[in-house]
Symmetry: C2
Subunit: 358 residues, 2 copies
């Protein structure tokens, strides 16, 4: 059977104070009142019924996930007591699904981006499901066809097309987020895709790679699937690492028993990671102020103004190029060119006030 | 008997959104948790017991005044249904006090400024009380000895000392707020004082001037004192004008039956009218940020940051010379050099949202 596992871990401080420890970015109602997780879930329903969709998220966010996805059975939320990076999220899901369905085929999707058209994403994943069902040893990774020399994404260096599998390529290299010059070279070469962090594989094939490459992790996730009550003992001791580093790279280099395939995902792929990217998807007034919620901007231009506090007003007079955010308990004001340092601001706030405003 | 009448009318939008329609500047807890009205009341207690202190304020603010001044008998609050400028405030108070005490002597004080030392103010008013008790026909006005060429105050042009009344001067002219150059000339001449808007006189002497100069107002305030229930009929029909224009100027020109005397008030006299002047009385951090309430400012300087919303945080990152104010329902952001236009911002907000945020 086919399953979709939505990877919705991570918190992220880049949208603070909209995002908070208890309300990470992917749960915020950013897009016409819907969260990125809700949008990912709705996309996933085109691939599998709710009963076969799992969410891997922080345990602290499980309750909010259940509220936002009322169609989802409660047991389909896997709450991580602590973040152990992407490998353990996919490994845990594989072990859980394999325990009840030895033929489980899983599409791992993310909840960090706006993706259009949805139909293309669905079609590509359907094709990848077909591919994995035909080639049980395939580990498929999706590569977004890049439209810019983005320095915020990892890249896949695409190799030769796999003989007999049209559209599927070898992967020469999994490259980290590049410097601007390097990103330009990647884009110009035509040989690189953005690493979508989306995977399609059989649960048993992934588990077999773990057994070969990371036997401790393999044993731990099997134990966790069999005895879920041991989670607080087992989970924190998992080795923290990424899928790409721990599985995809060594397997593509021949150290494993599977085949890594990269498939093109020709969609519009927009990060909603920070205020600048968020501003691009918000309506703007004639002075270029991107706003959300109740806002009055007078003789002000180029601001990003987000009012998430019901019943309140943000009023600007004579200011330009600021980011102003109001929530129920925080007002944050910075410049658009300083948003990369918001994490330092959050650290300073936490140093002073503890977790109260974190 | 001696009475103190605190003139606490006016609303003012220059401190919006701290000040609001229902919470004017003089009722805000700006100074170590105390309002300017509360400070004026405490100063007045050195001159008269609470039973002989009256407050003239907007009827809409009477309840808040009662909360802030629990020592005050409720009947000592005169609530104006609509603002009719300073003449009608002092005329109403004179009529009310004269009705029960024909020998009432009144000191009118304001609640708009920070005044130090308080002892000097008290001593000057005590001296003025003595003067009026010795010279029943005197109308005494106080002039603050200026320390700068302030363009935000009216000025008194001091004339010759009154023979036989040491320290009391004639007034040559009551001058409106001057242009900067004119203010410099005033300061250089040594002949001008800031018009404090504080007066000491016998109630019957003021009423007699009204009878001579403004007989309609005279009749109206006597009727109002005799039949307080007619306030909503009488008050709005009073002719709107200032004490200086309607009484002090014509009487000092000989059109009346009293003598205008100006007495020096050698105190520190600080306006708290706008955010810039408010910033001067707030503590500042080493980067020159003047703050009130819970605030974190990182790599930011010269800002005025006022957090009046309990339990909340204002966090700044990399911004300079802004004014940032957070209240329970409004966040306002402007530049320090734009605060004079806040009234226009309030007008724009009111045009959009009605009185909701006014």
């Amino acid at each position: 059977m086919r399953y979709v596992v939505i990877l919705a871990g991570g918190s992220g401080t880049r949208l603070w104070p909209l995002s908070r420890k208890g309300m990470p970015k992917q749960l915020l109602p950013l897009i016409n009142g819907k969260s990125l997780l809700r949008l990912a879930f709705e996309r996933s329903l085109a691939l599998a019924p709710a009963q076969r969709i799992l969410i891997v998220t922080g345990a602290a966010h499980a309750a909010e996930v259940a509220v936002q996805l009322p169609e989802l059975p409660a047991s389909n939320i896997l709450g991580e007591p602590t973040g152990r990076d992407s490998l353990n999220a996919v490994a845990w899901a594989a072990a859980v699904l394999h325990a009840t369905d030895p033929d489980a085929v899983i599409a791992h999707v993310t909840a960090d981006h706006l993706i259009e058209p949805v139909e293309t994403l669905t079609a590509v994943i359907e094709t990848a499901f077909d591919l994995v069902e035909a080639e049980p040893r395939a580990l498929v990774t999706l590569g977004v066809v890049p439209t810019s020399a983005h320095t915020g994404y990892g890249y896949l260096h695409r190799g030769a097309e796999i003989p007999g599998v049209p559209g599927a390529h070898q992967v020469v290299e999994f490259a980290e987020k590049p410097a601007a010059e390097v990103a330009e070279q990647y884009l110009a070469s035509g040989e690189y895709w953005w690493n979508a962090g989306m995977f399609i594989w059989r649960a048993d094939t992934l588990l077999e790679q773990l057994r070969l490459l990371l036997p401790d992790t393999y044993a731990s996730v099997l134990a966790l699937a069999a005895e879920p009550h041991r989670i607080s003992e087992i989970f924190p001791r998992l080795f923290k690492t990424s899928v790409d580093y721990a599985v995809m790279e060594p397997v593509s280099a021949g150290r494993g028993s599977a085949t890594v395939l990269a498939v093109a995902l020709p969609v519009s792929w927009r990060d909603v990671g920070g205020f600048s990217s968020l501003a691009e998807i918000l309506p703007a007034d004639e002075a270029g102020n991107a706003t959300s919620g109740t806002v009055t901007a007078r003789e002000s231009s180029g601001n990003v103004v987000l009012n998430a506090a019901d019943g309140s007003l943000i009023a600007l007079l004579g200011v330009d190029d600021l980011v102003v955010v109001r929530t129920a308990d925080i007002t944050m004001v910075t410049r658009r060119d300083r948003t990369e340092q918001i994490k330092d601001l959050v650290a300073a706030v936490t140093a002073t006030f503890g977790d109260r405003f974190a």
